[in-house]
Amino acid sequence: MEHEYDLAVIGGGIAGLVAGTIASESGLKTILIRKGRGATSYSSGAIDILGNLVESQFPLSPIDALSTTGVIRSTHPYVILGISENNREVHTELIVQRVKDSVKWLQRNLDGLCAEFTGALDQAMEAITVLGTTKPTCFVQKTMDMGNLVKDHDDSNLLFVDIVGHPDFNGRLAARTYAEFQRYADKPVKRVSSCSITITPFGKPYNISSVEVARHLDHSGLPKEALSELRKNIENTGATHVALPPVMGIESANTVLQEIAELGVHPFEVLSFPPSVPGMRLQQSLDAMYLESGGQMIVGHEVVGYDSADDRVSRIIAKSPHRKMKISATSTILATGKFIGGGIKGTESGFKESIFNLDTVDLNYNPTDDLRPQKLTDRVNVQYEGHAVFSVGVPVDRYFRPINYDSQVVYENVFAAGSVLAGYNYLVEKSGLGVGLTTGYTTGLNAMKYIKEEL
């Protein structure tokens, strides 16, 4: 079966869905093909922009970090955003502008959906995580908004709440870690305490998974017993803020939190590890946004081949266990992710991009085609500079079109977005969804220009 489209997007995480929405809402006939759910659904509920500039000794606001990146790095996807049409030079204000545009656009599009988010580019946010540590980020889902906890720390009183038999979050340890961190950071010590409540989706108080709790809350709301346990503990501790496990419903978290707020506290969820309910919310909201724009989506299909002619990809072949589809598109966006998404593969003989067999490079655009993955790792597992292997991806030109080792554009109608890109390490700089969003936004626009022959 042959299908014809203006734009084909391969990959359904944040980058692919944003690119697809941009194209589709402006009237292009768009199809998005994806294998599974999208690695975005494993994310924590925060949208990082640039939490930590590895080269900087002290924390910067996202805007300052972006501006600094523009000066000190040349291959970072954010820096490529800042290349001006006119003189082909990097303008830091252009980087900031494009990030602002895409954030504003997404904020508008997710308005009213379950992953609605809040935050500001000119201010770093120290969000509390499931470990009780804090992490520098920029935007969080509304259910994770800590309110005036940090600002008014003199009289805030934080209660960590966990669920009995739910091993993904231990409120007692998170409270202990957070309280120590507050002391260590020489901030006026808030009162911090913890308690457990009971929510048993299947009537048993053990082996309770985050997703089960969330679905249960969506379906039946917060159980009365849990609410009264909460009320009792809030009264006993005099809590003003409540840190909750990030499981308070997929669709209904705002409602559940509203109910808790009526106890006279400011409730919020902490950042999640996978499996992540907030990540599922974001994924679901992005899916809804894309479908609303009129784009088509086929899931459970893997791109297994393509045809090319005259430096253009003319057709891609997608396969599911039951059928094979041939999709002709004027332009294609590659948003297949890094290792989790399957966009990049690393074997003992080196790295390759999975679909078009594109050349891969590292942080500074050095070739990685014949590098053994182990060589791009550090002896220390968790440390400041991270592992170079996670900056491996495809190199691109100023329009985000993959280039080869001779710096030649490989296919003039293929654009790459999200973590399939090289030149940055989202894990340590904390920029994953930010790069996904902004490069998705920009490649969507670039593909549109290409299709309209304006590029």
Binding site: Y42, S44, A46, N52, T129, V130, L131, G132, T133, T134, K135, P136, V164, G165, H166, P167, D168, N170, R172, L173, R176, T177, Y178, A179, E180, F181, K204, P205, Y206, N207, I208, L271, S272, F273, P274, K338, F339, I340, G346, T347, E348, R372, P373, Q374, T377, R379, V380, N381, V382, Q383, Y384, G386, H387, V389, F390, Y426, L427, V428, K430, G432
Partner: protein, 551 residues
């Protein structure tokens, strides 16, 4: 009167066996270990309690091994599994060497309750193990027993304790007091309390394995060792139905053994002079093993490698012969010959011999102490082996999956019920913390309370926490919270425990880092670095481990 009759140095398989034997014979015993029980050589072995098949030219050793297997089946059957093994042959010349082995093995088979060696046709071989190379011309079939090496050492140490011994982990020997050519005491440094302590003793038994020379030096005595390192590659599941033994690229024999929930491919053998604490598997070792096994299992490279492990064999110092020709027998050195009375050291030996070695050394110690004793270590069961365990009934009674209960039984024997009983007061402790293995919270709490683990890595040795395909990605922070909760640790120590375990797992993951494990690591880094922010918060206080040091 001295504080102790005997101080045993090193809590590997031999040291724990010695401590058990001494304590059972009523000797006042102290076991000192600088790290954790089974934290070095024995913790990197495949757990085979070998019938001695590799040592056919040393018949007395084969006899001893065969008898020891029978003893282990009596005292520790709950932690023993039997593996069928195929040795496929690709050339006619392989057949001739198999004959001699078959004869020797079969002579002793009945006493170990295994069938005699069978010669199988290629068709029959491939029916048992379909992944075998179709070009094999025949194979040998036989059966060997495998023990959980960690549990064996832990149980020996616990049993020593039950018989009155003092067992001290994280206590490093820093000196031996010698007076008039006679041992009078030892000094050790407690690495947790940072305190040094001197105790008096009549005898020191040096079971420090690769560190035996170093220990002897404290008494100005000498132990010659030939240190030889060996690597294993660990696959994510039981990729073969049975064990497979094959000839490596250099003609040595290597094996692929299903082991617990994984498969072990090993080993290499390289003489080493490096600090044993710093060793990790090399790329050459990994490729040596893969290419060698590829000849008989062509699909071996499709398997997912989850990690490697590297250990050091403290061989008897036979030089100028290949490692494989060095005797696998053991030697007991009575340092009286070097004019140091009361010091006994081991060299050589194999896991299967550890009890036998302990008996011999304890006999010698008793003789030195002039006491009449009788060894009973081959007769008395180790903890947990007192009775059979009905896994299906327990799974039903406690509403826990049969799989989880069976895995629990394989570590615990009769302790299984005791652990499950804990969930009557704490139903939430039925929660699975390590999903790969699996391990439930009750077992972790029980182990913390009764088996003196100090770190998550110590818990791994006791309950197999974090040994599966995800290599502790998902269980580390959950188990760390339980450890911190039980021990009332600070949030800071909670985070350091997480880093400590991730670091230890990474030691083995990094050498074979490729394919699916890159994906797995991206998830782990996403959790602990990107979201948990441990890369930023703890960088300044984390002390590098020996293998992480650049120098």
């Amino acid at each position: 009167m001295a504080d102790y009759d005997v101080v045993v140095i090193g809590a590997g398989s031999t040291g724990t066996a010695v401590a058990r034997d001494c304590a059972m014979r009523g000797l006042r015993t102290l076991l000192l270990e600088r790290d954790d029980i089974a934290s070095a050589t024995v913790g990197t072995c495949a757990g085979m309690i070998s019938s001695g098949l590799k040592y056919m030219d040393e018949p007395e050793i084969v006899d001893m091994c065969s008898d020891e297997v029978v003893h282990f089946l009596r005292i520790a059957r709950h932690i023993i599994m039997k593996n069928p093994i195929l040795t496929p042959m690709l050339e006619m010349s392989d057949l001739s060497s198999g004959g001699n082995f078959a004869e020797e093995y079969s002579k002793r088979a009945e006493s170990r309750d295994v069938p005699p060696v069978l010669f199988l046709t290629p068709e029959d071989s491939r029916e048992i193990e379909p992944s075998l190379n179709p070009e094999i011309i025949a194979s040998l079939y036989f059966e060997e027993y495998f023990i959980d090496p960690f549990r064996l050492c832990i149980l020996q140490a616990l049993d020593a304790k039950n018989h009155g011994a003092d067992v001290k982990t994280y206590c490093e020997l820093v000196d031996i007091d010698v007076k008039d050519g006679k041992i009078v005491g030892v000094v050790y440094f407690n690495r947790i309390t940072r305190e040094e302590k001197r105790v008096s003793t009549h005898i020191v038994i040096n079971a420090a394995g690769p560190w035996a020379s170093k220990v002897a030096k404290f008494a100005e005595a000498k132990v010659d060792l030939r240190l030889n390192k060996g690597a294993h590659v660990i696959l994510d599941r039981r990729v073969v139905n049975v064990g497979v033994i094959a000839k490596a690229v250099d003609g040595r024999m290597i094996y692929l053994f299903p082991h617990e929930n994984t498969t072990l491919l090993g080993t290499t053998a390289i003489d080493t002079w490096e600090d044993p604490d710093t060793l990790t598997a090399s790329h050459d070792e990994i490729e040596y093993l893969l290419q060698s096994m590829e000849w008989v299992i062509p699909s071996i490279r499709d398997a997912r490698i989850i990690r490697t492990m590297e250990g050091v064999r403290p061989l008897v110092a036979d030089w100028k012969i290949p490692e494989g020709k060095v005797t696998r027998g053991y030697e007991i050195i009575d340092h009286s010959s070097q004019n140091i009375k009361g010091l006994i050291s081991f060299t050589g030996g194999k896991l299967v011999m550890c009890r036998h070695m302990a008996e011999a050394a304890t006999d010698l110690a008793a003789e030195m102490l002039r006491v009449e004793t009788e060894c009973k270590t081959h007769l008395e069961p180790l903890p947990g082996n007192e009775d059979d365990v009905d896994v299906l009934a327990l799974a039903k009674e406690f509403d826990i999956s049969q799989h989880a209960v069976e895995r629990l039984r394989a570590r615990r024997g009769t302790e299984t019920r005791m652990i499950l009983e804990l969930t009557k007061d704490h139903p939430d402790w039925k929660t699975t913390i390590c999903t790969c293995e699996p391990v439930i919270e009750a077992e972790i709490r029980y182990s913390i309370r009764h088996e003196f683990p100090q770190t998550l890595n110590d818990l791994r040795r006791r309950v197999r926490l974090g040994t599966g395909p995800c290599q502790a990605t998902f269980c580390t922070y959950k188990a760390a919270a339980i450890l911190a909760d039980e021990r009332e640790l600070s949030g800071h120590d909670f985070q350091l425990d997480i880093l400590d375990f991730l670091s230890e797992r990474w030691k083995g993951k990094r050498p074979s880092f490729r394919r699916e494990q890159i994906i797995q690591e991206e998830v782990a880094q996403g959790m602990y670095a990107c979201v948990g922010n441990l890369d930023l918060t703890l960088g300044s206080v984390y002390t590098r481990k020996p293998w992480e040091d650049w120098s």
